[in-house]
């Protein structure tokens, strides 16, 4: 806990993502587990059927890199998504999850808003926003990330608001009714190392959100179109601390004790680097860069040792 005291709460929260993700890699019994759930809605026409199917499959592939363990991930196709199946799934989640476990929920499909309620379009009766809130609230307390890639999803921001829940929506209101392209770029970012802004191979929801916003903006600019969607995130800081996927050597990997120790060393150094960056304006430029260089070289050496560990003994 020395590190935490030294770094302060704010920085700790930013670094928590690394720490938690690193710790969970070790798979010790005391660690929180990751769960994820992808619900695919009806496309209504061939193009959207195929798009949503592909999006859900790609999401599943990326989320699998979190190595959550058997029985902690579910992808419902558009054929499988109906209220009964969704309710059963949440019942199973409620049975399995412990307090502190993390959940990622993705809605892939069309949404609608009639001025009163949001509906996620599935086979049979639609899933309403209100019903979704009840289902999420029924789970043991712990961090939740809900990403709705649907039209009109902005209305969920208020409906699903909760201290422990990060809500990301493709639109800012229920009135943005065109099918958004947000989901395309979110999924593309999961496979693009450029989305991992700090290159720590732990892709946070915040990094991916920023990447997606940038791509969506360029999509509309490139076609000289007025953007018909404006994404929102309920808790930007929380999103930065929520790991959605792992990349590179950290993907689908369990760690040895040696690797875990190196990861913690890496975290300690990252904290020192952040402290230096925060003091940048107080230092002469050359001194700043000299100190930064020294820390970066140290971090690089730890990273090399970690890579060697992961590349040899740890990778399963």
């Amino acid at each position: 806990m020395v590190i935490a005291q030294a770094l302060g709460t704010h920085l700790m929260r930013r670094l928590a993502a690394n720490f938690l993700a690193a710790a969970s890699l070790a798979g010790t019994a005391a660690q929180a587990n990751d769960y994820y759930l992808v619900l695919t809605g009806l496309g209504g026409e061939t193009y959207y059927d195929e798009t949503f199917r592909g999006r859900a499959a790609d999401l599943g592939e990326s989320l699998a890199r979190l190595n959550t363990g058997a029985g902690r991930q579910w992808i419902l196709t558009s054929e499988q998504s109906n209220l009964e199946a969704i309710e059963a799934l949440f019942a199973e989640l409620k049975r399995q999850m412990q307090a502190g476990d993390r959940l990622q929920l993705y809605l892939v499909g069309h949404g609608s808003y009639d001025g009163e309620s949001y509906k996620f379009n599935i086979g049979g009766p639609d899933l309403t926003g209100q019903h979704l809130r009840e289902l999420l609230a029924s789970l043991p307390s712990g961090p939740q990330l809900v990403v709705s890639m649907t039209s009109s999803s902005g209305v969920l921001q208020e409906l699903l608001a909760d201290d422990q829940r990060i809500v990301i929506t493709a639109t800012r209101s229920g009135n943005e009714r065109n099918a958004p392209v947000f989901g395309d770029y979110w999924v593309a970012g999961l496979g693009d190392s450029g989305a991992d802004a700090n290159r720590n191979e732990l892709l946070s929801a915040g990094e991916l959100y920023a990447y997606t916003l940038d791509q969506v903006a360029r999509h509309y600019e490139s076609d000289n179109l007025l953007a018909s969607e404006h994404a929102l995130v309920s808790d930007a800081e929380g999103a930065n601390a929520f790991v959605v996927s792992r990349l590179g050597l950290l993907a689908s990997t369990q760690l040895s004790n040696a690797s875990e120790a190196l990861l913690q060393e890496r975290l300690r150094l990252e904290g020192r680097i952040q402290q230096l960056i925060d003091r940048r304006s107080q230092l002469p430029e050359s001194e700043y860069f000299d100190q930064l260089q020294s820390l970066m070289l140290e971090l690089g050496r730890v990273q090399q040792r970690l890579d060697n560990e992961l590349g040899s003994s740890d990778a399963r």
Binding site: G194, A197, N198, E221, D223, N224, E270, I273, M296, Q304
Partner: protein
């Protein structure tokens, strides 16, 4: 009858506060139907006795309950909103009176609402199909829309009614627009005789002054005569400025309009036009007070409103100044340039614009024997409507660039969908205007200036090959090209769809023909001939020593020979395009491949979005024939196709095959089509590094960094590598640390830092 409004509701609130109490130079009623009670007031107004006229018209408003009379008096008093309401009442009182509807139409015409005016004239003609003032009104409205068919309509009207002064004035104006001064004068003579003492001569005198001006007489005796009749007749100078603008004489237009404002400070049209023309000669700070004054006096003028709104956005732009060194006229010269670019577009436009200027200026200076004496000002607008307002006053024009002499404005590549146009070519085209307009003291004919710009696009520009849309060949086949002496009318008063573009292409071809037969020197000599104010037919005869009719015949022979294969097979080629479209629609890719090959055998230079090239490449992609696709893309690029998606694919295929240099050549071409795409700069920078061109790589990474990319860490790493290649080790160290500051775990950056520090320590 439906309600009519003179203004957009959003503006009415402002307008109601600003209702003018001034008498206005409103449209003279030459119909002979003018109410006798208005005539004494008219006489005062026409002769510039403003106070007396105001009192006269005011008395009339209170002395009568006849809405039509009150409407006319209110209009003359400048209260057009009240006049509008009163005309509506008058029409209710006398629904079968074509004259009231016609005058109401003229009120709309004067307040810049041509379409509503045409509807009212149409309603008048429904009452009386032969009602001449309404027919003339329609013609006047069409004239203001620059539609070529108006001339026939006017001739019809004249046949029916040879004493219609308004019709004679419109016809004279049409003649003068074509610079046919001799053709215009008889109409003016006739109009003046008809006016006698009954109507004011001023409008006719203004047209005489314009005729003199077009013949080089700036200080016409008609100006003095008009001002003697009405010392505050500002419209005289508005009319002169119109013809100055039409002949690219923007400084002269400003001078005329300054006179107009001087004699009639409350002439809001003059003040608006003065403001707009001042912006065209880059006297922007002086323009705004005139525009604001004009708006205060006449909030109906949408051009004033638009320009003021645009000027409010100028704070978002940067004015960048540079100096370009070049060789011309046997010595080293310097051209001052100013770029007005929106701040966020500076990173990807500034350098490329300057690169084009460095290439083009020496070419133009030498070919046109002209050294710029003032700064060249280039404005690039990301919002197309802003560009349109800047150049023609209202949004919705189909232009890409407009030159006003030393200053030109154009669309930014971000102003349209990606790849919609080749902005480098547009810049090249407009810059040519700077030289050709200024070399001729802005006296060149429209067709020649446009023709030279197109000629430069084809022969020296960033594309550098002849690009002609298929419908132009159709026009050639149908013998719809104009004689060279009349080519201006194809730009000013087009009579069929696409004629303006056909005229552009014809003008470019004519200039190509002249350069080929008589040499580049003839082009410069023609500009000099225009500068001495010769008309086109005399320019042709004097400089080329050939009669215009013979020139036309020889040009036709050259043209037919130049495009012999296509013109001979044109019907088959057109039929092939249709068949390609059908086969592609059916997904019959083998047929598409056969048909596109047949089409390309006839004509390969068509690289439009729906060309045989595009269809062929698509078919090859659909059939997964990558080798064929690669070959077709190379063919397309060799013909200077520039669709960004196709060129990006070609660069990718070159790169995959290890031909980095060829890939880079394609990407370099893309800079002048879609420079706002971040991937382009990343790819260019990386490839420059691979090719050992570190300085160029550095430039591209810097552009990309300024574009605020999401992944800045990799850009800093790229900068570090470029610096390292240049052996600038300290700069490389700083850049790599910048990369690591953002992305501490960035392995490639860590490795480079190790490399830099190990070497430094060893």
């Amino acid at each position: 009858m439906r309600a009519r409004q003179l203004l957009h509701p959003a503006l009415l609130a402002v307008a109601s506060c600003l209702a003018s109490q001034d008498t206005a130079a409103y449209t003279v009623d030459y119909s002979g139907e003018r109410d006798a009670r208005l005539q004494p007031c008219d006489q005062m107004l026409w002769s510039g006795q403003d106070s007396a006229a105001r009192e006269c018209f005011s008395n009339l408003v209170f002395a009568t309950t006849e809405a039509a009379l009150q409407a006319e008096a209110s209009w003359a008093l400048g209260d057009v909103r009240r006049a509008n309401t009163l005309f509506a009442t008058a029409v209710t009182q006398q629904p079968d009176h074509p004259g009231i509807k016609t005058r109401w139409g003229y009120l709309y015409l004067e307040t810049f609402q041509d379409q509503d005016a045409i509807e009212l004239f149409g309603e008048a003609l429904q009452i009386d199909a032969d009602y001449q003032p309404a027919r003339v009104g329609v013609a006047a409205a069409i004239t203001s829309q620059f539609r070529g068919e108006v001339q026939d309509e006017i001739y019809d009207i004249l046949e029916d009614n040879t004493d219609n002064i308004r019709a004679l004035l419109i016809l004279a104006k049409l003649m003068l627009e074509k610079r046919d001064v001799d053709g215009a004068r008889p109409y003016l003579d006739e109009a003046l005789e008809l006016a006698g003492d009954r109507y004011p001569p001023t409008e006719i005198q203004a047209m005489y002054a314009a005729a003199d001006y077009l013949e080089g007489q700036v200080v016409s005796p008609w100006i003095e005569r008009a001002l003697t009749y009405n010392p505050s007749y500002g419209d005289l100078f508005v009319n002169l400025a119109y013809f100055a603008e039409l002949t690219f004489q923007y400084r002269q237009a400003v001078a005329f309009l300054e006179r107009g404002v001087e004699v009639d400070p409350r002439n809001w049209v003059a003040r608006s036009a003065l403001g707009i023309n001042l912006t065209r000669i880059n006297r922007i700070n002086e323009a705004k007070p005139h525009l604001e004054a004009s708006y205060a006096g006449d909030p109906f003028n949408i051009e004033t409103v638009n320009m003021l709104r645009l000027m409010d956005t100028f704070g978002d732009y940067l004015l960048l100044e540079d100096r370009i060194e070049y060789e011309a006229g046997g010595g080293t010269r310097f051209a001052e340039v100013q770029l007005r670019l929106r701040r966020d577009e500076v990173p990807f436009l500034e350098n490329y614009t300057l690169n084009l200027l460095r290439r083009a200026i020496p070419i133009y200076a030498q070919r046109y024997e002209f050294i710029p004496e003032e700064p060249i000002i280039i404005e690039i607008y990301p919002n197309h409507d802003d560009f349109a307002v800047r150049t023609v006053g209202t949004p919705g024009v189909g232009l890409l660039g407009v030159a006003f002499g030393y200053m030109f404005a154009m669309d930014s590549p971000t102003g349209r969908a990606s790849g919609d146009f080749h902005w480098g070519t547009v810049l090249w085209h407009e810059l040519a205007h700077v030289f050709t307009l200024e070399a001729s003291s802005n006296r060149t004919s429209r067709w020649f200036s446009e023709g030279l710009s197109v000629f430069e696009e084809w022969h020296s520009g960033p594309i550098g090959s002849v690009k002609i849309p298929p419908y132009v060949f159709q026009a050639i086949k149908d013998n719809r090209l104009l004689p060279v002496a009349d080519l201006d009318s194809g730009f000013i008063r087009p009579t069929y769809e696409n004629q303006i573009m056909v005229s552009y292409m014809q003008a470019g071809l004519v200039c190509s023909y002249i350069a080929e037969r008589w040499g580049d020197a003839a082009l410069a000599a023609m500009l000099r001939a225009y500068r001495s104010q010769l008309p086109t037919d005399e320019v042709i005869e004097t400089v080329l020593d050939i009669r215009p009719a013979t020139f036309d015949r020889d040009f036709d022979t050259w043209l037919t020979s130049r495009f012999a294969t296509l013109l001979t097979n044109f019907d088959r080629w057109m039929s092939l395009q249709q068949s390609i479209g059908s086969a592609a629609g059916e997904g019959n890719w083998p047929a598409v491949l056969d048909l596109t090959q047949a089409s390309l055998d006839i004509y390969r230079a068509d690289t439009e979005p729906r060309s045989a090239w595009a269809a062929r490449i698509y078919a090859l992609q659909q059939t997964s024939d990558e080798a064929g696709e690669y070959e077709a893309l190379q063919g397309y690029f060799a013909e200077d196709g520039y669709a960004p998606d196709l060129l990006t694919r070609l660069a990718e295929l070159h790169q995959q095959r290890g031909d980095v240099a060829a890939a880079q050549q394609v990407r370099e071409a893309l800079r002048y089509v879609a420079p706002h795409q971040q991937e382009l700069h990343r790819d260019l920078a990386q490839a420059y590094l691979d090719l050992g061109q570190a300085r160029a790589a550095l430039e591209e990474w810097q552009i990309l960094l300024a574009m605020d990319p999401h992944d800045k860490a990799s850009v800093y790493l790229g900068l570090a590598r470029a610096h390292l290649q240049l052996n600038e080790r300290e700069a490389a160290r700083r850049q790599v640390l910048q990369a690591l500051e953002i992305a501490p775990f960035f392995r490639e950056a860590q490795q480079l830092l190790f490399q830099l520090t190990q070497t430094d320590n060893s």
